[in-house]
């Protein structure tokens, strides 16, 4: 009955009072639509077009020609491109699970304490505010400095050989991962913390009174309930990890050799530095494809896991 009476204003408190409002709503929305169309849709469409041409930044006055799939053929046969694609996937697979693990452990820890909670939470926010360039410089160039940096000094003091953090291909990738984990684990902590706050405390309390151990409560009750937020947080981090470029550019410039070059860095090199807009654009679309494939696979996986845990 009450619902019938209230059926006139739709669920989300939509108000429309006059004919002017119909004008207003478009006036309010239009600037955003316009800006994002010009700076989002237009570039995306242009890049798609460029990928099928021989557009070049430094060549002016020459007819641009349609080259069909040439750029993509060039891409697939290019071993240095595959190297950057592999690096990007390796980076993503290295950092995201690590950030998730750290984020989960610390979110559970935060959930167990009361005194100092606000202090920890505020401090954990800090890495998210710092520019990646600064993080790369401070951690990568100073802490991991190979000759007199504190970390190698400690390792030598313990009687081992100093580690070539930036000059050995695999270690360089590792160092870059450490930097990303240092910076972005906080995001996972915050997200999972918000998820845990949504799990009713009574539920866990009841489980532990019934004799469930800490781990049983965690895996049977807490984890399934934070899964939706965890999935969102993971997806955001997967997407961001695929875009990695700034820390690499500052720290190793993609080196040694090509060991740490990411796809975005390769696109910057080809398109902005080299002026080969067409080849750069085809790489950008390839990156998008890889992201869609991984993102889609991840979503399918979480959906299956979630429907299983519901049973």
């Amino acid at each position: 009955m009450a619902t019938a009476q209230r059926s006139v204003p739709p669920a989300r408190g939509v108000l429309q009072f006059s004919i002017h409002d119909r004008l207003w709503k478009w006036l309010l929305l239009l600037p955003s639509l316009l800006m994002t169309t010009v700076l989002f849709i237009a570039p995306v469409v242009w890049t798609l077009y460029a990928a099928f041409t021989d557009l070049h930044l430094f060549r002016v006055g020459v007819e641009t020609e349609w080259v069909g799939l040439y750029n993509f053929q060039k891409l697939l046969g290019n071993s240095s491109f595959w190297r950057t694609a592999r690096n990007t996937v390796v980076f993503m697979l290295g950092v995201v699970p690590m950030q998730f693990l750290i984020g989960m452990v610390l979110a559970v820890c935060l959930d167990n304490v009361t005194r100092g909670l606000k202090l920890f939470r505020t401090w954990f926010l800090m890495p998210l505010m710092v520019s990646p360039v600064v993080v790369a410089f401070v951690i990568g160039r100073m802490l991991f400095q190979e000759d007199i940096g504190p970390i190698n000094s400690l390792i030598r003091w313990l009687g081992f050989e100093g580690i070539p953090w930036l000059t050995h291909p695999n270690w360089a990738m590792f160092t870059i991962m450490v930097i990303d984990v240092w910076q972005w684990s906080s995001f996972m902590i915050l997200m999972l913390m918000a998820g845990l706050q949504g799990v009713p405390y009574d539920l866990r309390e009841a489980a532990s009174i019934d004799g469930a151990s800490f781990w049983q409560t965690f895996f049977r009750i807490t984890l399934p309930l934070v899964l939706p937020i965890a999935a969102t947080a993971l997806l955001i981090r997967i997407i961001d990890a695929f875009k990695v470029v700034d820390i690499i550019m500052v720290l190793t410039g993609g080196g040694p050799g090509q060991a740490t070059e990411s796809v975005t860095l390769a696109i910057y090199r080809a398109g902005v530095k080299g002026g080969d807009l067409a080849f750069g654009s085809s790489q950008a679309y390839f990156l998008l494809l890889v992201m869609v494939v991984f993102g889609g696979a991840f979503l399918a996986l979480t959906r299956r896991t979630m429907s299983q845990t519901k049973d």
Binding site: G13, V14, L15, Q16, D21, W24, K25, L28, P31, S32, M35, T36, L39, F40, A42, P43, V44, T47, A50, L57, L106, C109, N112, V113, F120, T122, W123, F124, L125, M126, P127, L128, M129, V130, S131, V133, V134, V135, A136, F137, V138, M142, L143, I148, S153, W182, G195, T232, I236, V250, T264, I267, Y268, V272, L277, G280, A284, L288, M291, G295
Partner: protein
């Protein structure tokens, strides 16, 4: 009895882990602070850890930055300030207006799709825009200008602001706006005098987050600017690759000056920032 000892144990372990991670986050900060007070001799042979005990702190890096080379450093610093504030302000006004419209008006039942359309933009890799921006701003003769960065950063921040503010406005009671409209108030008055002030916490959160984003952005700035309009991250990136070993103390001082404003602002507004960051996920 047994339950309480177990709980005390868990709490102890939790504090241990939390302190360990806090120290992991503190250490680089500590290191950059002490390095900015080091003299070249303190870093030439071996690492030094404690001011006054194993090295004599000096102010030469700070003097270099603020006295000798102030102009050199002030240009990128003021560029970053202008670009971050102007772009975030534009995005805030434009984005929150759209957020309000999507919360209070019906767009033929397509409100959710429009919001999703905005959000989808955040998923696309920046590499997809980078080259187009370069060509676009070259044609407009806006390369190496602050205007180009303001436009790109404002447009980049809008989707997130629309997303968060729409939810925020939906959470506000409609009745106040309704009665104001019935009393004959103009729609604009309702938005700017009633809805916006009520949404202040959300506005603060999205404004600071876009400010931080613009302040720290690197790759677009690298593509679009090269001399007069470089921002702080770009300036630092250049210094890092140029100086290598030699000028760590100066770089540390620059890092601190560039980081302290945003980190202080962010941590002071912790509550808002955390809610802004986690808002989307909680709703979705």
């Amino acid at each position: 009895m047994k339950v309480s000892t177990q709980r005390r144990f868990i709490r102890g372990v939790s504090y241990g882990i939390l302190i360990l991670w806090s120290l992991t986050l503190v250490f680089p900060m500590y290191w950059v602070v002490i390095t900015s007070f080091k003299n070249p001799v303190d870093m030439s042979i071996k690492a030094t850890y404690l001011p006054f005990l194993d090295f004599e702190p000096g102010l030469h890096a700070w003097r270099y930055l603020f006295v000798e080379r102030l102009g050199w450093f002030m240009q990128p610093f003021s560029n970053s300030m202008i670009v971050a504030f102007v772009s975030s302000s534009i995005a805030l006004v434009v984005g929150s207006m759209a957020g309000y419209a999507l919360a209070r008006f019906d767009f033929n039942g397509k409100n959710n799709s429009i919001v999703l359309g905005f959000m989808a933009q955040r998923m696309f890799p920046g590499a997809l825009f980078m080259l187009a921006f370069l060509v676009m701003f070259r044609e407009l003769r806006l390369l190496d200008t602050k205007t180009a960065l303001v436009i790109v950063y404002a447009a980049g921040a809008i989707p997130f602001i629309v997303w968060v503010m729409r939810d925020f406005f939906e959470g506000l009671p409609v009745e106040i706006e309704e009665s104001a409209l019935i009393d004959g108030a103009n729609r604009l008055v309702v938005i700017f005098r009633i809805a916006m002030p009520l949404a202040a916490p959300g506005l603060v959160a999205v404004f600071v987050l876009s400010l931080i984003g613009a302040w720290n952005e690197y790759i677009v700035a690298l593509t679009l600017t090269f001399r007069d309009s470089i921002t702080i991250p770009l300036f630092m990136g250049m210094q890092v690759s140029q100086t290598g070993y030699t000028e760590w103390w100066n770089m540390s001082a620059i890092s601190l000056v560039s980081v302290i404003p945003v980190v202080t602002a962010g941590m002071a507004l912790e509550k808002y920032i955390t809610s802004g960051l986690t808002f989307g996920a909680l709703k979705g």
